[in-house]
């Protein structure tokens, strides 16, 4: 099995998210960075599949040079090959990002052979365009289904389960295929000390590739207007229980 996972470096905000004064980006001066959550699970899924079936996992990111941190993290939990497409300072819209990834995949497959499976996160935690994976799959002429929370790899096809409100929809895709994965498909492991050490030595390929802009232009980011709420304090101990139950009765959820 040759699996490719595409990941994105995103800030890890806490209780509030601030925007730079020019409105062009999230203020990250005091923030750490992480792998977008759905993609963290895509990495874990790929590693689990190759642990079961053999093969190797390549992780690709399109982003700033610092995204090396997310690639090394992926290596520390078991990924084999790391590829960075540095795009420092470029304003990437979804079409441009997809075109860059498509071209990069073409190069990787020409050099190392085709990928049996390509995994994306369902959507990125930050810009959340809901389309890059679909555009790449279409450009590569491969089927894709999003929202996947279960994958079974069979000899000539892949069974993928999409979570819906009360259960799953089951899809069956021919190989090679592309899937958009959602958090919850697995519980990502933490890196071991051995994994961390190995990840520092893992070879990372950096190859600048660019593409034309698409048709969407981001003008500015801003925070939604906050409705200031007066919180009604019902107490500071279990003595508040009657007041809480009064409230539940009042709004009709206690029959």
């Amino acid at each position: 099995m040759r699996i490719l996972v595409c990941v994105k470096r995103v800030p890890a905000p806490g209780a509030k998210i601030n925007v730079t004064t020019d409105g062009q980006a999230v203020e990250t001066a005091h923030l750490g960075f992480t792998t977008s959550p759905h993609e963290e699970c895509a990495v874990e899924e790929a590693v689990q599949i190759t642990e079961r079936m053999g093969g190797e996992v390549t992780v690709l990111t399109v982003g700033p040079a610092e995204a090396e941190e997310q690639l090394r993290y992926a290596a520390s939990v078991g990924c084999h090959n790391l590829v960075l497409v540095p795009t420092d300072g470029l304003a990437l819209d979804p079409q441009r990002t997809a075109a860059i990834i498509t071209e990069t995949v073409g190069g990787l497959e020409a050099d190392g052979g085709g990928f049996d499976l390509i995994l994306f996160g369902n959507e990125s935690a930050d810009s959340g365009g809901f389309q890059v994976g679909v555009r790449v799959a279409h450009a590569l002429g491969r089927p894709i289904v999003n929202g996947i929370k279960g994958i079974d790899v069979e000899d000539d096809h892949i069974v993928a389960r999409r979570a819906v409100d009360a259960g799953f929809e089951v899809y069956e895709l021919p190989r090679p295929a592309v899937l958009g994965v959602k958090e919850g498909i697995n519980l990502p492991r933490y890196p071991t000390m051995k994994g961390r050490l190995a990840s520092k030595k893992a070879e990372m390929v950096s190859q600048p590739i660019d593409a034309e802009n698409g048709g969407q232009v981001m003008v500015r980011l801003h925070r939604p207007a906050e409705t200031v709420k007066e919180t009604v304090m019902l107490g500071d101990s279990e003595e508040a229980a009657p007041a809480i139950v009064d409230l539940l009765e009042e709004i009709g959820v206690l029959q």
């Binding site: 806490g14 209780a15 509030k16 998210i17 925007v19 959550p37 759905h38 997809a98 935690a125 930050d126 959340g128 365009g129 389309q131 679909v134 555009r135 279409h138 089927p143 894709i144 999003n146 929202g147 389960r161 999409r162 819906v164 409100d165 009360a166 259960g167 799953f168 929809e169 089951v170 899809y171 069956e172 895709l173 959602k182 958090e183 919850g184 519980l187 048709g215 969407q216 232009v217 981001m218 003008v219 500015r220 980011l221 925070r223 939604p224 919180t231 009604v232 304090m233 107490g235 500071d236 101990s237 279990e238 229980a241 809480i244 139950v245 409230l247 009765e249 709004i251 959820v253 029959q255």
Partner: protein, 327 residues
């Protein structure tokens, strides 16, 4: 020119979210000065044409083909692509559900046009370029964007507009359309389904009792389950809890979990990071129980109790039992 709205249905059941798409579609069509068309795709949808007309559709396109037996992103998007060409649609709109965004992304990929997902407002007064505000970070941040494209593709964020009835129904002229599809479009059609739970789910529960890191352990959720059962509600949790393996991911409320909209959300031991908040913010009322008066969840809640959830939650359960026993 026309605005084409994709109506989402599951084997003939119209998705509630499609009413939001038509509500947004009516105001957008008015801005554009264009006709509002709706499209229903595949088996079982033909009985929904009256409802589409009531929601304001002047024309309802019913798409049928042998392979359109169930939902499939390729088959649906290819059908919409051909129909949009046929009627020369100026724009195509869906609501930003999993399926809505997936079909729009497929449509965008097929036409190499920009697609703007999860808009909260759209200014379509200029034919050439539209400007819009869309959701980032699951709704914690807004992005103003513009697009220039011969056909505009947008989705409206789910819950971003309140669904309403049309002031006057549309003519609802039914037009049948049979696209040219082949086996390649059928590979992503649903093969099977598995039902895991019946009855009230986290996203539809009238009461959600949730726990965060403050619960302390998997066992600690026992008191939350007891309270949720008494209120015919469901137990939820924060991402920290699922990351610790205390609860299954299906219980997670948040940007990467489930978005809830209960009558009351009882959030215990949850600090309220933005990833959690965007999943909970549609709750009608929020009661926070937390030892930290400075917690974000407390600041954003309608009601709060500052204290130890391990004492307060059992006391609430006991009080409910006492009152039930006395009536």
């Amino acid at each position: 020119m026309t605005l084409l709205v994709i109506l989402e249905h599951d084997r003939g059941d119209l998705a509630e979210a499609s009413r939001e798409a038509m509500t947004a579609g009516r105001s957008l069509a008015e801005q554009m000065g264009d006709d509002l068309h709706a499209v229903l795709i595949g088996e079982g949808a033909d009985h929904l044409t009256d409802e589409a007309a009531e929601l304001g559709a002047q024309t309802v396109h019913v798409v049928t083909h042998d392979i359109l037996t169930d939902y499939g992103p390729d088959a649906w998007a290819e059908s919409v692509r051909q129909l949009a060409d046929e009627i020369d649609a100026a724009a195509v709109l869906a609501v930003g559900t999993d399926r809505g965004n997936e079909v729009m992304a497929q449509l965008a990929a097929r036409t190499d046009l920009p697609f703007v997902a999860n808009c909260v407002s759209v200014d379509a007064s200029d034919d050439e370029g539209w400007s819009m505000t869309r959701l980032q970070w699951g709704g914690s941040l807004l992005e103003d964007s513009t697009i220039e494209a011969e056909r505009k593709l947008v989705s409206i964020g789910h819950h971003a507009v309140v669904a309403s009835d049309a002031l006057a129904p549309g003519a609802g002229t039914v037009e049948e359309f049979e696209p040219e599809l082949d086996g390649s479009h059928a590979v992503t059609i649903i093969k099977d389904r598995a039902v895991l739970s019946q009855g009230v789910t986290l996203s539809t529960a009238p009461v959600v009792v949730s726990g965060g890191r403050g619960v302390g352990s998997a066992d600690g959720f026992g008191i939350l389950e007891e309270l949720a059962d008494l209120l015919s509600g469901r137990v939820g949790c924060s991402r920290a809890v699922t990351n610790n393996g205390w609860r299954p991911h299906a219980d997670q409320v948040g940007q990467t979990g489930t978005r809830i909209a209960p009558e009351i959300y009882i959030a215990t031991g949850i600090s309220g990071a933005i990833q959690h908040w965007v999943g909970a913010m549609a709750s009608k009322r929020i009661l926070a129980i937390n030892t930290d008066p400075e917690a974000n969840m407390v600041a954003k809640a309608d009601y709060a109790v500052i204290g130890d959830l391990h004492k307060i939650v059992p006391a609430v359960t006991a009080e409910i039992k006492r009152r039930k026993g006395s009536t």
